[in-house]
Structure formats: C-alpha cells, structure tokens
C-alpha cells in the first residue's frame, strides 16, 4: 500500500474493529456465564419452591393420573416442572412441560435431550414425601438471551462503522494536508529555484523534513554557485591564452614590419610556454583528483627533494633561491611524488610573484615541517582562504599564472598526509608557505 493516507486508514479501521470485536467477545463470554448462573439459581429456587408446595397437595394425586400444576405465569414460557414419585410414576407437571421424564439424575443439576431439545434440569428429591421435583429450562432459550444481548451491542456498532470510516478518512486528509501542501509547493517550483521552504507554520512532524530540505537546498545552491564560478574562472584561464595566441598569430601574418612580426612570434612562444604549463597543471590536478584520498607514505629526505626539484626549474635573472643548511638530511613521512608536486608549485608561485629577490626554503623553526618564504607582494588577508581554490586569482596575481599552483600544492600536501598553511610574512612583504606534518 503506497498511500500513507490509505495505510493509516486501514490500520486505524482495523484496530478499531479489533478492539470492538474483543470487547464483544469479552461481553459475550461474561454475560453468558452470568446468565447461566442467574438462570441456574432460578431453577434451584423454583424446584425448592415447588417441592415445598408438593407436600400439601400430594395426597390429592393418589388416583394415579398425573395432575397438571398451575405454573406461575412468569415461568410460563421458560420453565417446566415435573413431579415424579420415587417409584417412577409422574405425579404432576406444569403446562407446556414435556411428558417424558426430564432427567434420570436423582438430584442436583443435569442436562438431557428430550423431544429434540436440550434441557437443563434441577432435581430435588424429597424422601419423606416420596416425590422428586424436576424444574428445567431449554438451553436454546438461554442461548437466545445471550445472542439478543450481543446483537443489541453489535447492530449499532455495524451501523456506526461506515460513519467512523468516513470520519477517519476525512481527519486523515486534514492531518496530512501540510505534507500535501509541501509536496505541491515543491512540485510547482522551478528546477533552479533553491529558495527555502517556509517551515515556520509547518507542524512539528513535518518541520524536520522542511528543515532537511532547506539544508539540502542550501548545499546544492552553494555547490552550483561554486561550480559556476569554477567554470567561469576555468573558461577565462583556458580561453584567454588561446585568444592571445590567435591574435598574435594574426598580427604576425598581417604585419609588414619585420620587427612587429618578430615581436608577435616572441609573444606566441611565451604564450605556448604558458599554455604548456597550464596543461601540465591541469593534468597534475586531474591526477591528484583521480588518486584518491591518501597515498602510501615513506620517509622522504626533504632537503634532497627540494634541492632536486628547485634546481630543475629555471629562475629568471634577479631571483635567487636558497636552501637552508638545516634542511639537508631533514626527513618527513610523505608520499614523495605528491610532495614534489607541492614543492614545485610553491616554488613556481614564489618565483612568479617576484621581480627580484630571494626565495628561501628552510625547516620550520618549531620543527614538524618545512617552509618557503618569498619576497613578493604577499596575499591580501581577505583572499588567503580562497587562494587554494582552483582557478582563483587574486589582486596580486602574476601575469603568467593560471590560478592552479596553490590549489595543486594544497591538494598534493593533503594527499601526502600533510597540510599547507599560507600566511603573509611578519618580518617583511612576502608570502610564507608551510608544509606541515600530520
């Protein structure tokens, strides 16, 4: 059953029905026992009463023919009475009583089938008077009494059931209205509409749902905004160098002045270099993405790794690189490939943002990591949390960057079980990037 309303309706109706049925069964059994007790008492009383009356009239019946006793009108239909002498002769019987002997039992209660009907009989034996008085009633009558009682209970209940069903159905509809309203609201909204549902008036049971949905909307909206930003930045970073290449190529083809042609070709070369680096960074980022969370760690000689990485990169004239002596033989637990990637991108970032000066690699003074300091312009404080996002380029961006270097450095550090911390140098203008263990 898929409908909540239908399911609740069935459950409620079934439960109500079960309770009623149990109550009826209870009442049936209880009243049956009660009725039996009351009727048995009546039989007993009636038998004793008749027996006490028999003494006065017993002589009258000596002619042998059984007399018919005038039965009290209250018992006319229900009770039958027979008086038998101890030697087995019927002395008298009430009107309507069967002619056959009601019971063979000498005394007390007994049951017997007479003329196709089951009788319950109480027998009183009076040895002095020489008679046995039997008073009995039909079991079917007793049954009818109980059945009538139960029918009296069940009939109105059966009449009320449809009414109750309608009532339950209607109140369920009313109770489930907030859900239906919310579903309607959700179905009617635009696919791009991520505004919050009004949870203020929702009932307590529905509010968690509304709150959860609103939370989800917020997250989806944030993810979509982020996606849009990344797409926009990526488009800009990828297409601008291509636009530069194409423009310079067209200039080279159109210009008559050999100096202009040469300049354009030089620009084309540097644009190709930049694009090559961009492609390499994109591939690095893609590989880091594909590699999963962390890589197996080994003990890495960081000094050797930094020296090797940095020496392989040409720095423009005017920029010196220094590797602090304490870094030689300095070891860290890391994945060497990821660490190399982080070091290279940090170094590139440092070099790109400087006209001239010193890039220094050193061990952290407190231990537990390495640090690179440059003498560039640093990063505005409000941009620090964003610079490790892909394609983000701040106000102090270098003309040849693509907004990927710091993102890759951060990602590579994380893959290596390390973390990257960026801050502006306290001692002078410049950026200080730390790769921290753990």
């Amino acid at each position: 059953m898929r409908s909540l309303r239908l399911r609740l309706f069935a459950t409620l109706l079934l439960a109500t029905g079960m309770i009623w049925l149990s109550a009826v069964a209870w009442i049936y059994l209880g009243s049956k026992r009660e009725v039996e007790q009351v009727l048995d008492n009546r039989l007993q009383e009636a038998a004793r009463m008749v027996s006490s009356l028999v003494g006065a009239v017993s002589d009258a019946g000596t002619d042998g023919a059984p007399r018919t006793l005038p039965a009290p009108s209250a018992y006319e239909r229900q009770l039958s009475c027979q008086i038998w002498s101890l030697d087995g002769r019927m002395v008298a019987r009430s009107t309507g009583a069967p002619e056959r002997r009601l019971t063979e039992a000498p005394a007390g209660f007994s049951q017997r089938e007479v003329d196709g009907e089951t009788w319950r009989v109480f027998t009183v034996e009076d040895a002095e008077k020489g008679v046995r008085v039997m008073v009995g009633d039909r079991l079917s009558l007793r049954e009818r009494l109980v059945t009538d009682l139960i029918m009296g209970l069940v009939t109105p209940a059966l009449l009320v059931v449809p009414l109750l069903g309608m009532l339950i159905w209607a109140s369920l509809g009313r109770g489930l209205r907030p859900l239906r309203l919310m579903a309607g609201n959700l179905a009617a909204r635009d696919a791009d509409d991520m505004s919050a549902i009004d949870a203020g008036r929702a009932p307590t049971e529905v509010r968690p749902l509304a709150d959860a949905l609103n939370g989800l909307f917020l997250k989806v909206e944030a993810a979509r905004r982020h996606e849009r930003e990344v797409t926009a930045f990526a488009a800009h970073e990828l297409r601008t160098p291509l636009a530069g290449l194409k423009t310079q190529a067209q200039v080279a083809m159109a210009a008559a002045d050999p100096e202009v042609v040469k300049a354009a070709l030089r620009q084309i070369l540097s644009a190709v270099d930049r694009t090559t680096r961009l492609v390499r960074q994109l591939l690095d980022a893609a590989r880091l993405d594909a590699d999963g969370e962390t890589r197996p760690l080994t003990t890495v000689d960081v000094g050797a790794l930094v020296a090797e990485t940095v020496e392989g990169m040409r720095a423009p004239a005017g920029i010196q690189t220094r590797i602090a002596p304490e870094l030689h033989g300095y070891t860290m637990r890391a994945d060497p490939e990821s660490l190399r990637l982080a070091v290279r991108n940090l170094h590139e970032n440092a070099v790109q943002h400087m006209q001239a000066g010193l890039v220094e690699w050193a061990a952290r003074s407190g231990g537990g990591g390495i640090v690179v300091r440059d003498e560039g312009p640093g990063i505005p404080e409000d941009e620090l949390p964003q610079v490790t996002k892909r394609f983000f380029r701040g106000r102090h961006k270098s003309p040849t960057g693509s907004g990927l270097g710091l993102a890759i450095a951060e990602m590579a550090s994380r893959r290596s079980g390390l973390s990257l911390r960026l801050r502006n140098r306290p001692d002078r203008l410049g950026l200080e990037a730390e790769i921290l263990a753990g």
Binding site: L238, T240, G244, L245, K246, T247, Q248, Q250, V251, A263
Partner: protein
C-alpha cells in the same frame, strides 16, 4: 580611431595593441578596472574593448560606471564567458557588442568599426565627401575613383575630418586621436600630415581656420 583596451593578459593585450594598430587605430592598454576608470574619466576614446574578468573586479562595473556618467563611448565586451546568459547580461549592462574568446582579430576590427560607425550615426561603412572616398576596413582612400596612397597617420587625420565634414577639429583633438600616451608628438606633426594630405587629395580639400583647427571644405 583611438581605442582603449582593458585586458589583463599581457600577451593578448600586446596582440590587440599591435593588431588593432595594423587597422589604423591608436590603442591604449590598461589591465585593471581602476586604470580603466581613470583612463575613461580623463580622455575620450572612439571605442572601448573591455574584458569582463579583471583582477580587481568585473568589467561590467567599469561599463556601469561609464554609462552612469552618461558616457556613450561604444563598448565591445571581450570575454571567455560567452554563454547566452552572459551575453544578455553584458548587452543589458550597456555594451554595444560582445565577442567570446578566442576571437578573430579581423572580426574584432570589423565589429569595432561597426559600433564606431553606429555611434557616429552613420550607416555606410565608407566615408565620402566631395569625391573623396575613405574605406576604414581596407585603409584605402580614393579620389574620384582613383586610389590615393596615404600613410596610416594621414589616413587617421583624414578619417577624423571626414567623419563630421562640417565640424572643426582642433589640433589638440587630432593629436589625441593620432598618438598614444607613450608616443612623443612633434609639435608640428598635425600640420605636416595635413600638408601631405593636401598634396595628395587637392589643396582646396582641407580648410584651415586660423587658431581653431581644420575642417573639410564643402564641395563647390
């Protein structure tokens, strides 16, 4: 024509300076919103070529403040974001045209000429006056159907004068259109160009108003 290029990528910016220069324009390049605002506030340009993603903000802000000053300088947006929604936002923001990166230099030049023409209230691509015909796309001048060889600077002077044949152009105005900020201007440069032009298209074609400037002489 004097063009302001607002583009932060040095290679593209350099390419635009050279490429648009080839088609006879004087190109100034700036790389930030702040520099663009300053340039637009202090001098007049025929067309602005504006990148949308700049290091210190969005080109749309530059556009908005330009239009906020009721400056009608034509603006061609140049951007990597060329989705339909972005185009609509750019054009509704007051841009006259929109070109996605990477673009064709010749197409950009043509669009710049087109928005400049529209801004000047002309429909025809070529300028004509008294038998002189000037084709901005090909940098070709003809006199009564015969081609007249002119230098780039001479062409620009003639174009400036022929855009509004009856309007006086001062020497300073012509110098501004002819030379970029970094270029050294000889004090008599404009006079020399006008002199050369008169030699090629006829002595009577350009009229000198002493102490005020130059204009095209109405045909007799």
């Amino acid at each position: 024509m004097r063009i302001l290029v607002v583009e932060d990528d040095p290679i593209l910016s350099d390419g635009l300076r050279a490429g648009l220069g080839l088609s006879g324009a004087t190109v100034e390049c700036v790389a930030t919103c702040a520099d663009a605002d300053a340039a637009l506030a202090t001098s007049r340009f025929g067309v602005v070529v504006l990148d949308l993603m700049l290091p210190d903000g969005s080109g749309l802000d530059v556009l908005r403040s330009l239009r906020g000053r009721d400056d009608r300088t034509p603006v061609v947006l140049l951007t990597a974001r060329d989705g339909v929604a972005d185009r609509i936002a750019g054009l509704d923001g007051g841009a006259d045209d929109y070109l996605g990166k990477p673009f064709d230099l010749d197409e950009l030049s043509a669009r710049i000429r087109a928005v400049a023409r529209r801004a000047a209230g002309r429909a025809a691509a070529c300028l004509e006056h008294a038998g002189i015909r000037l084709d901005p796309a090909g940098l070709v001048v003809t006199l009564d159907g015969e081609p007249v060889p002119v230098s780039r600077r001479e062409f620009m002077v003639l174009a400036a004068l022929m855009e509004r044949p009856n309007v006086l152009r001062s020497k300073a105005e012509l110098e501004e259109r002819l030379y970029g900020w970094q270029e050294e201007v000889e004090s008599n440069a404009v006079e020399v160009h006008v002199h050369n032009l008169r030699a090629k298209i006829g002595r009577q074609a350009i009229e000198t108003v002493r102490g005020v400037g130059y204009r095209m002489r109405a045909s007799a």
